[in-house]
């Protein structure tokens, strides 16, 4: 599964690079507009060590931000699953907060919290939180009638049991949305670093951009892709293990 993920990324990256180089040679553009292969190679030789460290730094923040947003989305999803006024209020508030573009909110966050990891973490969580929240709300507010009916009828239903039933019955959906939002966590962290932080691969991209150095940006994109693929693989693997764990008793029962 890991090598499949990496192959897929490499194919996409190489297609993108080929299109870019096709433009370069087709339109006879200089290395300043689109760098040639030797220049990209040289940039890779010079910047790889630093960029790997920067990407790992970014990935660390993205993973923590992702976990925070999963936790938040779970809490808000559980609270907002009720069809009451409070549930509706929480849903409306969650949607409204997301309506503000992160580029407008980010400067305020950086002014208040500085340009350290906390700001990056918050922005990463904010960016990947919404798709998680939408799915979690959908899952937690949709009754699993066949199973819940039994517990409702016997008077044994409580909110914990309801959440458990809905989560277990939609485990595949939950895993898919968590894996999907991981990419957004990475993107969110990079955007935060690009806007104002002083660390991470987003910051390095910003510096390369100041210097009009597309070769370095291409190298950075390569490492971002590799490490994001690795993280996605880990999540998929964890999801697969969890699914297996819950599938086994069912098979036993059958």
């Amino acid at each position: 599964m890991l090598h499949k993920r990496l192959y897929q990324f490499l194919i996409v990256y190489l297609i993108g690079l080929s299109v870019l180089l096709g433009f370069k040679y087709g339109l006879s553009l200089s290395d300043y507009v689109i760098p040639g292969v030797p220049m990209i190679w040289k940039a890779a030789e010079g910047a790889s060590g630093r960029y790997v460290a920067d990407t790992l730094n970014t990935l660390g923040v993205a993973v923590v931000g992702h976990m925070i947003s999963i936790f938040l989305a779970t809490v808000v999803g559980i609270l907002g699953r009720r069809r009451s006024w409070a549930g509706s209020m929480i849903r409306a508030a969650a949607y409204n907060i997301q309506a503000y573009p992160i580029v407008a909110v980010a400067p305020i966050i950086f002014i208040l919290l500085g340009d350290g990891p906390v700001s990056r973490l918050l922005i990463a969580a904010m960016i990947c939180y919404f798709p998680l929240l939408l799915s979690f709300m959908g899952i937690f507010s949709e009754p699993v009638k066949d199973i819940e009916h039994f517990f409702n009828a016997t008077g044994r239903m409580n909110w914990r049991l309801q959440v458990k039933i809905r989560a277990f019955e939609n485990m595949r959906k939950l895993t898919t949305v968590i894996v999907g939002s991981a990419t957004m966590a990475m993107v969110g962290t990079i955007v935060a670093e690009f806007i104002a932080a002083a660390n991470g691969i987003g910051y390095s991209i910003r510096i390369a951009l100041y210097q009009s150095d597309l070769a370095k940006i291409l190298v950075a994109l390569f490492y971002i892709g590799i490490f994001t693929s690795l993280y996605l693989f880990c999540l998929e693997w964890a999801g697969f293990r969890i699914e297996k764990r819950f599938e086994t008793p069912k098979e036993g029962r059958g």
Partner: protein
């Protein structure tokens, strides 16, 4: 019945279109061709584009037989790349951008130098920080945009005055001035003719006195905004280039003329309504010193030795691998 009628209608429409097209073509051939040019600024509309805005508003480009679209720039806009891609025919770029582009084979040519003195300076509080000579930079916390030309200029300054990297603390700068306001950073880079005026005013309102450290005055000449075009434009349309540069510099001369200051400030304010008129007035006065240092000075003059010094600094700092012989692109 219906089909032949429909065919006839379509045939008439096609004939009308062809006739219309021919008519337009004939009309076009009859009218003299007005070159349509795109001109990409380095930054958004503000006082640093006073000449361009003046030329545009007073029809100076039109009088020169040119149709010029002046496009605002920004942090992600690169005029040199746009020239090569054909999105613009002229643009504004700083010397470091030009030298980098030349080192990577871009066919860029400098047609005029707008700023004779680089407006990039460092603001500091005179009551907290004393800088009488550049050597006083030692021991200070200096704001720099890593990767930006202010970092290059600051490193050149430190090298020139023998200040080791360990003797100063470089602080990463972004758009947020909070670290400077909080006093965590002693010197903060600003464009003296733009943000410099605004920050100075804010400090004044807070009862603090701001002064500026000028690298140009300390002997580091690093060329700023210049007008660039492509080698193809120079070779294939020299007359258009001449007309454009002439119109542009006429606009700049008029915009920097004290007799036209009210009108220039009015125009700038129309394009930059967020900056109060009194601040634009002060920005204009400072810009004038950088663009036209003396009354007889001809705006647009290329300072070849300053360009060579800029190139030398960039080579020394490894920002370009080898000399590009920038003189050939001026």
């Amino acid at each position: 019945m219906r089909k032949p009628t429909a065919i006839r209608i379509w045939a008439m429409v096609a004939a009308l279109c062809i006739m219309g097209g021919m008519g337009c073509k004939q009309q076009k051939t009859r009218e003299p061709q007005i070159p349509e040019l795109a001109y990409r600024l380095k930054w958004v509309f503000n006082t640093s584009a006073a000449g361009e805005l003046y030329a545009m508003e007073h029809g100076i480009f039109k009088a020169a037989g040119l149709s010029v679209e002046v496009k605002p720039g920004g942090p992600e806009k690169d005029a040199i790349k746009e020239l090569e891609l054909g999105h613009a025919q002229f643009g504004v770029a700083s010397a470091d951008m030009v030298i980098r582009a030349l080192s990577q084979g871009a066919p860029v040519v400098v047609a005029a130098q707008l700023f004779q003195i680089n407006p990039l300076q460092w603001i500091y509080r005179s009551d907290r920080t004393v800088i009488e000579t550049p050597a006083d930079l030692a021991g200070k916390v200096l704001g720099v945009t890593f990767g930006g030309n202010d970092e290059t200029i600051m490193r050149a300054l430190l090298a020139k005055y023998g200040i080791a990297g360990s003797e100063v603390e470089l602080h990463s700068v972004r758009y947020d001035y909070t670290p400077f306001y909080q006093g965590k950073v002693d010197l903060w880079p600003v464009y003296r003719n733009a943000q410099g005026i605004i920050i100075e005013e804010k400090l004044r309102q807070a009862g603090e006195k701001a002064v500026f450290f000028d690298p140009h005055g300390a002997g580091v000449r690093f060329v700023a905004n210049s007008v660039v075009t492509t080698r193809d434009m120079i070779e294939q349309q020299p007359e258009v280039v001449d007309r454009f540069i002439s119109a542009l510099l006429t606009g700049w001369e008029a915009a920097m003329d004290p007799a036209n200051s009210d009108e220039t400030i009015r125009i700038i304010h129309a394009y930059d309504p967020d900056t109060p008129v009194d601040q634009i007035r002060r920005q204009w006065a400072v810009t004038r010193k950088f663009v036209k240092p003396s009354s007889g000075f001809k705006i647009g003059t290329i300072d070849v030795s300053a360009w060579e010094e800029t190139e030398r600094i960039m080579v020394e700092q490894g920002l370009v691998q080898k000399p590009v012989n920038v003189r050939t692109a001026l």
